[in-house]
């Protein structure tokens, strides 16, 4: 089992005593107190040292536990996570998965990464201000337009302006679409359709573009996470 998933923020870092210097440099880096030389050393060591890479990942887990995002993300394969969320939704008296206007709808923990609790210290220059909406896969589908059938709030939402999150357009009947999960965030509701996301991953894998190398390939490896299974 993944050692990191056991980490509740108090387990010692998984480093050998001989790597303490590298771990200390990493710690300085996390606190934004490393200078360029130390940064180079850490990055070079990260390249070589898997334990150090695990340490780096541990720091992130610690940060997330401080922000109370940990339970939603840990150790769960995407399909398992979706299934669990869906079970919870189903348990709520069989109500439709989403009603934009219904306050009784189940609120899943927002996945949006807000300001870090210790933002002043834990500032990552490159990713400062980045809000990652990815819990399972790093893609959020906005739903446009409407569908003739389907109960609930059908027929709303046009295309999202760039930079905004769009809301869902219709309720999802529980039995007809078991792969659809609806998540509420402060910015609105995002539809996470596991089937659509699987197709997206396959679309990325087999597409062809002169711009793929390197920008397209790097973009997909960064943004879409795992290929489909």
């Amino acid at each position: 089992m993944n050692a990191i998933s056991q980490d509740q923020g108090r387990t010692p870092l998984p480093v050998e005593p001989s790597d303490t210097a590298a771990a200390q440099r990493m710690s300085l880096w996390m606190d934004d107190e490393a200078d360029a030389v130390e940064l180079d050393a850490v990055l070079g060591a990260l390249d070589a040292d898997q334990e150090l890479a695990l340490t780096w990942a541990s720091y992130h887990v610690i940060g997330e536990s401080l922000r109370q995002e940990l339970p939603e993300r840990l150790g769960a394969r995407p399909a398992v996570f979706l299934a669990r969320v869906h079970e919870r939704l189903a348990a709520e008296a069989g109500a439709p998965a989403v009603e934009m206007a219904a306050p009784a709808a189940v609120r899943v923990q927002p996945i949006v990464r807000g300001r870090a609790a210790n933002d002043a210290l834990f500032r990552w220059k490159m990713a400062a201000g980045v809000a990652s909406l990815a819990a399972v896969m790093a893609v959020a589908w906005g739903v446009l337009g409407s569908m003739p059938s389907g109960p609930g709030a059908g027929g709303q939402m046009a295309a999202a302006p760039v930079g905004n999150v769009v809301a869902v357009s219709e309720a999802v009947p529980q039995t007809a679409a078991p792969s659809t999960v609806v998540i509420e965030t402060p910015q609105g509701t995002i539809v996470r359709d596991a089937r659509l996301m699987r197709l997206l991953a396959e679309h990325r894998q087999y597409g062809m573009s002169a711009l793929q190398m390197p920008a397209g390939f790097l973009r997909n490896a960064t943004h879409d996470g795992a290929p489909s299974r």
């Binding site: 589908w141 389907g150 396959e202 087999y206 597409g207 711009l211 299974r229």
Partner: protein, 343 residues
């Protein structure tokens, strides 16, 4: 003088004194200097679109680099750390996600492996489409110049490096445009935006930090790539086929788009995965996923968007169709209307 630009500036927010001096020189002088350095003709010496695409493609084959990449697609942002090294005919890359689920992707030429440390799973695959450029640009099946034009705009500094800013703009409304920042000396794409009809940015990929000639070791990356101990290694297998064999054809071809591939993925759990029919116009890809209609699994017809990728899902007789691509919705509709069953 310009070689000073290669000095790494990790705090890209605060311009150095050198950068301020460069700006004081004025853009005309900068162009003159770059002309002298590159030995090219005067400023509007345009390369053709094929020449630009070749340059962008070959740039990554020549230099090693390390950097941090940020992708913004609609409301979502992700970042990763990139290591790239090349050695004669071999190119290797390692991408380590910094946001979202941890993933490590390692590529050697067309072979790609993706590690998921949380589930201890790894996927290996062969990405044939990565290897077809730039040779494909020189063949008659390259339709890109018919459907896109290139404009050279200006010069801008990104991630500490001076870049040529060019735009690849579509000649019709069926595709998107691209604004590309190409590092002046090597041509490497350091920033790229996908633009819609009103030049709104749908997606952006950009290095926020980039260091050339970093000491990336190819043998180290090879070892990492082969180190799958403790991981369950999965290899997606697929059955190549043709649309005709599956009983489909495009009655009305969408201008500029040609078939790239057609396959059905093998699925071990007994489900029947869709046929995937992939089209490309050279810069943008469109996938058509077709499977038999199943009222239990299928019910959410509609449209969706994620960054530059639009999708359209609808019933097609006894089948269920999802069309997806980095093209406007209207283009996806043309695909959906143009496809027909032959038996």
């Amino acid at each position: 003088m310009l070689s000073a630009h290669s000095r790494r500036d990790s705090t890209s927010g605060s311009p150095s004194a050198l950068a301020r001096a460069v700006r004081r020189w004025g853009s005309a002088s900068l162009v003159a200097v770059s002309v002298v350095c590159s030995g090219a003709a005067w400023a509007d010496s345009s390369r053709s679109i094929n020449e630009w695409l070749s340059r962008l493609h070959e740039a990554s084959r020549e230099r090693a680099y390390v950097g941090t990449l940020v992708v913004s697609a609609g409301p979502a942002m992700s970042a990763s750390r990139i290591w790239h090294v090349c050695d004669g005919s071999q190119q290797m890359e390692r991408v380590e996600t910094l946001t979202g689920a941890p993933r490590t992707t390692i590529r050697r030429n067309n072979d790609v492996i993706t590690f998921d440390p949380e589930s201890r799973t790894a996927w290996t695959e062969k990405r044939e489409s990565l290897g077809v450029f730039p040779e494909l640009l020189r063949t008659p099946s390259n339709l890109i110049p018919e459907f896109y034009g290139v404009d050279e705009l200006s010069h801008e500094r990104v991630a500490g490096h001076m870049a040529d800013v060019i735009e690849l703009m579509p000649k019709d409304a069926l595709r998107f445009g691209y604004r590309i920042w190409s590092e002046k000396k090597t041509g490497l794409v350091i920033k790229m935006q996908t633009l819609d009809e009103s030049r709104q940015v749908l997606e952006q990929v950009a290095f926020t930090e980039l260091q050339f000639d970093a000491p990336v070791r190819m043998d180290k990356l090879k070892r990492m790539m082969a180190d799958t101990k403790g991981y369950e290694v999965l290899r997606p297998s697929l059955r190549k086929t043709t649309p005709e064999a599956e009983g489909w054809r495009m009655r009305d071809v969408v201008p500029g788009f040609q078939t790239v591939s057609c396959h059905v993925r093998d699925q071990s759990d007994g489900g029947s995965p869709p046929m995937q029919w992939v089209f490309s116009d050279g810069l943008a890809s469109v996938s058509l996923f077709i499977e038999p209609f199943d009222p239990v699994r299928h019910g959410d017809a509609g449209q969706a968007v994620a960054g530059a990728t639009h999708s359209l899902t609808q019933r097609l007789g006894n089948h269920w169709l999802t069309v997806m691509g980095e093209v406007p919705l209207a283009t996806l509709r043309l695909f959906a209307q143009g496809i027909e069953r032959t038996r």
